[in-house]
Structures are given as structure tokens and as C-alpha cells.
Amino acid sequence: MGLRLNLVLGGTLCLIVIVAAVLAPWLTPLSPVMDADLMNAELPPSAEFWFGTDAQGRDVFTRILYGARVSLTVGIGSQLINTTIGLILGISAGYFGGWWDDLVNGLTNLMLSVPSLIFALAIMAVLGPGLSSLLIALGLTNWSWTCRIARSSTLSLKSQSYVQAAKTLGYSDFRIMLTQILPNIVGPVLVIATLGMGDAILAEAALSFLGLGIQPPQPSWGNMLTDARELIAIAPWVAIFPGLAIFMTVLGLNLFGDGLRDWLDPHMRTRPV
């Protein structure tokens, strides 16, 4: 019961964000950047401006819809990079063993000993702000869990008879890794990627809030909160809605990820979670 609830609730929240991001131009007639109007600055939520307006008189609702594009791009893009790195390193380390395994293990432990947000911050400081820097910074710093899972699963799969059979049949190492091992670790890796997407969206928000991520006037949920800090006393709605958007999205991803894990892991299914 509870598991299904996680999946349904999380999936619904994620779907809302995807729809908002994809259909943004059709859901709002306004532009997130160009429709600034100082005559309308700092208006509270109303029938015309659902979430109110900011200091430049831009519609907060419109900016949140367009901000969803940034969050989703960063979340999905950075996790694609992380997952690819983690899978390649993890599977090859587990499969080949030896010095390569030691090297990958050392690298993974090193990554785990540097807090990922600080690591990303360092990369952003060097590369400078922007969407591509964010993708690089968040894509290179969060692959260690994927790598660990991939490595330990490969180690145990390697001795399975069907992998041995494939070897005897003369399959190449690459083919074995791709067709015999990878399909068996997709489940847990998918769970990590889903939860990691939430972390990436939170990290993007934090970095943009600090002024290192997406630069104004382009809207991102994080940089909308930077302005909100100055406005909080007179226009609290400018702070409330972008934060709520981040919260709902990450909550959706976390619930979906948890639900996915419980659904994939029969051991957990019998226990109260």
C-alpha cells in the first residue's frame, strides 16, 4: 500500500514539473525576462498575477514555469553524466579487477571524502557561472554511489554461470559487460539516479542562490530566491513560491526514488517502510 502511494504521489509531482517545463510558453502569455513593468512591481498574488510580481514587475508564476526548464535540464543532464561515469568506472573496475580496480576504488573514496557541494562550488568558481558549467560541476561530482553499486554488483555477477558461459562462448569483454552485466544493475542504478536528480536540483538552487549558477535575468528557482532575500520584508511571495517549487519537485523525485527502490527490492516489500 505505502509503496504504491510513494510511486503515485512522487510520479504525479514529477509529471506536473515536466508539463510545466515543456508547456511553459503555452501556459503563460508573458515572457519571464522581457515583460518587466515597474508599474506592476511587488504586487501580491491576484487573479492577474497568480504568484504576485517581483521587484522588476515580472510575473513570478511565469518565471517559475520557465525556471522548471533549468531545474529539469540540470537534474537530468547532470545525472546522465554521473550515471555514465559511475557505470563505466564501476563495471570495468569490478570486471577487470587488479590495479584498475584499486585506482577506481581510490578515486571513489576520494570523491566521497570531499563534500559534493563544495566540490561543485570549486568547479563553478573556476569555470564561471552558466548552465554548461552547472552541468559539468554537478555531473562530475556525484558518481561515487553509482560506481560503488555497479562495482559490487559486477563482482558478484562475474562468477554467475551465465557470465561464465558467455566467456566460454568467446564473447568479448565489452559485450559481456554490456549485455550480461549492465541489464542486471539497471534497477538500483535507476534508484540512485532518481534520488541524485533531487540532489542536483537542490545543488543548482543553492549555487544559483549564491550567484554562481544561472545568472539573472534568466530565471532559475535558485536565483529568484537571491532577489527574494532583499524583498522578504515587503514581498514575501517572491520568496515563498520558488522555494515551494523546488520543494515539491525534489519531494516528488525522492518519493518516486524511494518507491522505486521498495518496488525493486522484494526484501523490503514485506517490511514496513
Binding site: S116, G128, P242, I246, L253
Partner: protein, 311 residues
């Protein structure tokens, strides 16, 4: 025991060197990072003479391995270089900021332990109860919420609307200024701790030795005191230690939000000023704090669970 502690401390050395190398690579080997990014500020763009002068001034014209050697050698003497802006030693700048950051982190950890631990514990004692459901919903929400946003809302409510607490700054270093930042930073670890504690206690409660103790007629109180707590503690402490790392990252954001004069604020201000030695130094010190905490945690394990030090 002493040998274990010494061994654990020695194990830190290669990690510290590796982390220093990593930070060095990010900031120095990336081509033209320092000079060109200073010029990207708009001051004398595309002037080869200026780039050359900057490179010479920062010693960037020397080969990479020489620079890395110098860097490690200086590091071994606790010399992190000189700030480009203030011309002060970086260690001095960091020294002033480290205590506020540690104070904030420790206070946040105390908040997390004081609230998260009992919640997780009582939730596990009554699985499926109302308290359990509320705790679990709260925990997943606490892990999904951007902490600095909660901080912003708390600032609005407690400082600006109710006027109970100062909205930002360090003040005289008193408790009143610490409350909001510490609560904000404590939310994430609190949520994770509640969740881990609940899982750990449930795990221990389902083991054979608990069933045996129960069937022997041991009272619930003694059962919890002697068996459950001690066994659940190992998992709880692991979580706390690991959580400290992401807390060092979050602290940067929370410090900036509350204008807290810690390492995080120094780091972000220096990124804005392109003061690379200070950026590099504060990142290194933040990571070192995390490494030290994790070593302490490992030693704590051995105290709680004697099986570990012999392993």
C-alpha cells in the same frame, strides 16, 4: 586502542595529499583559469602583456610539477599563500573565520541530535502509529526542502514579523544570533537522523538476541537501555559522520543567507573577488574539517563496538 587511533590518523595523510592534489588540479592546471578569469572581469581584456604579467606575479609561468611541489611544501608548513586582494596570509584570514563555522556546525548538529534522535527512536517503538507517520513524512520533507529557503522563511517569521531574534549577523557572538542559522542548517541532518535511527532501531528489534532477552522476561526499559541503544548507535554515528560533510557544504549557503562571518562567507566573497588563494585555502580547510570529523567518528566506533578495532 592507542594503536588503532594512531593507525587511523596515519591513514588520513594520503587522503589529505590526494585532496590537496585534486584542489590544486582544479585551480591551477585548468588553462589560463586565474589570469583569464581576472581579465574576464573586464579589466584590460585580451591584453597579452597583462596576462603575462599576472602569470608571472602568481608564479603561473613555472611548470606544473614545480608549482605542485611548492604548494605541497608550503602546505606542510601550514602556509596557504597570500591573498591577492588584501595581501594577508590566507591562514590568517581563515583563522578568523573558522570558529564561527565550527560553532554553527556543532550547534546545528546538536539541534539535529536533540530532535531527530528521539523522534526516530519513538517512531520505531510504535511502528505504524500517528507519531511514526508524522516523523516519516517530516523526514522525507526535511530531505527534500532547500534549507536556505526554510531559513529565509524563518527569518521572515521570527526576525522580521515577530521580532524575537536578529535576522542576520554574528552580533557579539551570543546565542540569539546563532539560533536561526543553527536551526536552518540542522534541518537536513535532523531528517536523515530520524530516518536512520528509526531504521536502525527496527533492525535491532527484529534480531534474535532481542527476542531471547524478551523471552527471558527482561523489562522493556532495560532491553532498550542495554541492547537496542548500543547496537543502533553504530549505524547512527556513521550517518552523523557522513552527514557532517554535506553539512559543511550547506553551511556555505546558510552562512551567506544569514551574513554569518564564517569560512563559507569568506569562500563566496573570495569567489566573487577572484581571490584564488583564499578560495583554494578555504575549500581545503572545509574538506579537512570533514576528514577530521570522520576520523573522530571511526575512533568513536571502536569505543562503542570493540569488535571493530580488532578487525
Amino acid at each position: 586502542m592507542l594503536r588503532f587511533i594512531l593507525r587511523r590518523l596515519l591513514q588520513m595523510v594520503p587522503t589529505v595529499i590526494a585532496v590537496s592534489l585534486l584542489i590544486f588540479i582544479i585551480f591551477s592546471v585548468v588553462p589560463g583559469s586565474i589570469a583569464s578569469s581576472m581579465i574576464a572581469d573586464g579589466r584590460g581584456a585580451n591584453d597579452p602583456e597583462l596576462i603575462e604579467r599576472l602569470n608571472r606575479e602568481f608564479g603561473l609561468d613555472r611548470p606544473v610539477h614545480v608549482r605542485f611541489g611548492d604548494y605541497i611544501w608550503n602546505l606542510a608548513q601550514f602556509d596557504l599563500g597570500t591573498s591577492f586582494r588584501t595581501r594577508q596570509p590566507v591562514t590568517e584570514l581563515i583563522g578568523e573565520r573558522i570558529w564561527p563555522t565550527l560553532k554553527l556546525a556543532i550547534a546545528a548538529m546538536c539541534v539535529a541530535i536533540a530532535i531527530g534522535l528521539p523522534l526516530g527512536f519513538f517512531a520505531a517503538m510504535r511502528p505504524g502509529s500517528l507519531l511514526d507517520s508524522i516523523t516519516m513524512v517530516g523526514a522525507v520533507s526535511g530531505l527534500s526542502v532547500p534549507q536556505f529557503w526554510l531559513g529565509l522563511l524563518a527569518m521572515y517569521l521570527f526576525a522580521l514579523t515577530l521580532g524575537w531574534l536578529p535576522s542576520f549577523g554574528y552580533g557579539e557572538g551570543g546565542l540569539r544570533n546563532l539560533v536561526l542559522p543553527a536551526l536552518t542548517l540542522g534541518v537536513g541532518p535532523m531528517a536523515l537522523l530520524a530516518r536512520t535511527t528509526r531504521a536502525a532501531v527496527l533492525e535491532v528489534m527484529s534480531t534474535d538476541f532481542i527476542r531471547t532477552a524478551r523471552s527471558k522476561g527482561m523489562s522493556s526499559f532495560r532491553l532498550v537501555k542495554w541492547h537496542v541503544t548500543r547496537n543502533a548507535l553504530v549505524l547512527i554515528i556513521t550517518t552523523l559522520g557522513l552527514q557532517f560533510g554535506s553539512m559543511m557544504g550547506q553551511a556555505v549557503v546558510v552562512e551567506k543567507l544569514f551574513s554569518w562571518p564564517g569560512l563559507g562567507s569568506l569562500l563566496i566573497d573570495s569567489v566573487g573577488l577572484r581571490d584564488i588563494p583564499v578560495v583554494q585555502g578555504s575549500i581545503l580547510v572545509l574538506v579537512l574539517c570533514f576528514l577530521v570529523i570522520n576520523t573522530v567518528v571511526d575512533v568513536l566506533y571502536a569505543v562503542i563496538d570493540p569488535r571493530i578495532s580488532h578487525g
